[in-house]
Symmetry: C2
Subunit: 313 residues, 2 copies
């Protein structure tokens, strides 16, 4: 029996090393260097190429690296085995840091103060209280909840939107297509933590930006995306940032990654770009989680955080 690491576009070495430390008695192999494909029973996967998993007929379970699973669901050849989604407390903490940092940076008018610093200008901008600013969270899973908790403690007003009805403390919750307009109409800072599904693909563009609150305390709406790039429409974001439909934005995810050299996003003054680093999977922390899951599965128990393939997350 062997455990396979199949991480397309990533360096597999840290994953192999971390798994070998966590499971010293198991054979760990990095795709495509596999001694006996029939012996592979478990695989850690990130964005496998179409058909790549077909070579392993005896797979018993997959572990999806990263919070989203859209990287797996694009292909048409997914084996009929359980897929466990990785839920790592470190990953949640990192995402919370990134979201809170971006929200505070826009709330405290960092981009304007940077411009003033460059111009050697000493000028006190009008500063709203956090309680005067509404954060609208799209996606109320583990990550959305953790961010909501911290943002509430900083004093922000919170609204949330999800596909199905949810209830969160201190968050005014909306859901479904019917709830979207009411959710957007009083949102000042829109934060996307949605998974990429057929329903969410291309969901956030001009029509959504037009429904955000325009007369709020921040002087214009802000968009923050740490979910998946294909949920937003980049040509709409460029236009919105240029014509003041959006005051500013922070993007960690993009329609195509790495973001192409010729993208007009790179040099927009009111946009902050990070290269899909908001919450990076940590091989050491995750290998311990996966080691426990493999053992549990071998003993006949279900995987934690099972993915529902028809639902898309």
């Amino acid at each position: 029996m062997s455990i396979l690491v199949l991480v397309d576009g990533w360096n597999s070495a840290p994953w192999v090393d971390a798994l070998r430390s966590a499971m010293p008695d198991q054979l760990i192999e990095a795709y495509p260097d596999v001694i006996d494909p029939d012996a592979v029973e478990y695989a850690l996967v990130w964005a496998p190429q179409s058909g790549a998993l077909d070579a392993f007929p005896n797979l018993k379970a997959l572990f999806s690296l990263g919070a989203g699973v859209d990287h797996l669901l694009g292909g048409d050849t997914l084996p009929a085995v359980p897929i466990g989604r990785v839920v790592d407390p470190d990953l949640t903490a990192r995402m919370t840091e990134w979201i809170v940092a971006q929200v505070l940076l826009h709330h405290r008018q960092h981009l304007q103060y940077v411009q003033q610093q460059r111009a050697r200008k000493w000028h006190n901008l009008k500063q709203p209280l956090a309680s005067e600013v509404q954060i609208g969270l799209m996606g109320l899973g583990e990550l959305g909840r953790a961010s909501a908790n911290l943002l509430h403690q900083l004093g922000f007003g919170l609204r949330g939107w999800s596909r199905t009805p949810k209830q969160l403390n201190n968050v005014a919750c909306f859901h479904g297509t019917d709830g979207l307009d009411a959710f957007l109409s009083e949102t000042d800072i829109l934060v996307c933590l949605l998974p990429l599904t057929p329903d969410t693909e291309g969901l956030i563009g001009t029509a959504v930006f037009e429904k955000l609150r325009r007369d709020g305390a921040l002087g214009g709406p802000v968009f923050i995306n740490a979910g998946r790039g294909r949920i937003h429409v980049e040509s709409d974001i460029v236009a919105a940032l240029q014509n003041d439909l959006l005051k500013a934005a922070s993007l960690d995810v993009f329609e195509v990654e790495p973001l192409p050299q010729d993208s007009p996003l790179w040099n927009l003054e009111n946009l902050i770009i990070t290269p899909h680093v908001a919450a990076v999977s940590n091989p050491k922390a995750l290998s311990h989680l996966i080691s426990r899951q493999v053992r549990a599965h071998q003993e006949g128990r279900e995987l934690d955080h099972l993915v529902d393939v028809t639902r898309g997350y």
Copy 2:
């Protein structure tokens, strides 16, 4: 009887308006337009010029606007009346926002990602966990405690330093001259929230920066000052940022404010400057607090948050 607003260098109009709303039955006057100087019994003050308060012989109490009181204590003509320090929950919340924003921004390597964005470079920087980073707070009053609480929840390690011994949950506390070196030796991000006193003036410069942890997870120490500018030595900060004794810094306060046009601080790439806006006093919120205090004092009760003039805060 009249209540005086004496705010040197600020616009007094919003203060007068807010006080008139909060105390419609009182005469509110803005310095120097006073009908009868003998009638002035209370004054809200910020940085009065030397001797300005001598014109009001019947003062019964002063209210210091802003968290620090060094702006009052420089003069030699302070009337012998109680001085109440303003402790405004909004002001504490604003300071917490600014501190958390600056800490997260340095922790998440924002300045490096901005440079990468300008160069259209897609590159994932090594990111430590918050638990691998120690924040060292100098000043453990209301503001320090509020910041410590949020930073703890974000997962950071916390150390604290104060003049006299203090105990805070989740903070390793040090105090006095004897405790300073041990406090600094494992600090990665040094945050100054100290009051300006003869003891703290010029306290933070090269000798302090040299004692900060150099082999921490962030790859070099960071200095953040939202206390008072004269606590730090700006020529030492410039040198430290240029020769990598400091990796980066955020300053909201300066030796001379407004920061002079020819200061070398303005265009250091690894320094973030804000124009003393971390926690600005809000006239509306504070007028209600002051209104209650005036009434309490007239009824013979003590002011809240009395300043000890000999101690300096």
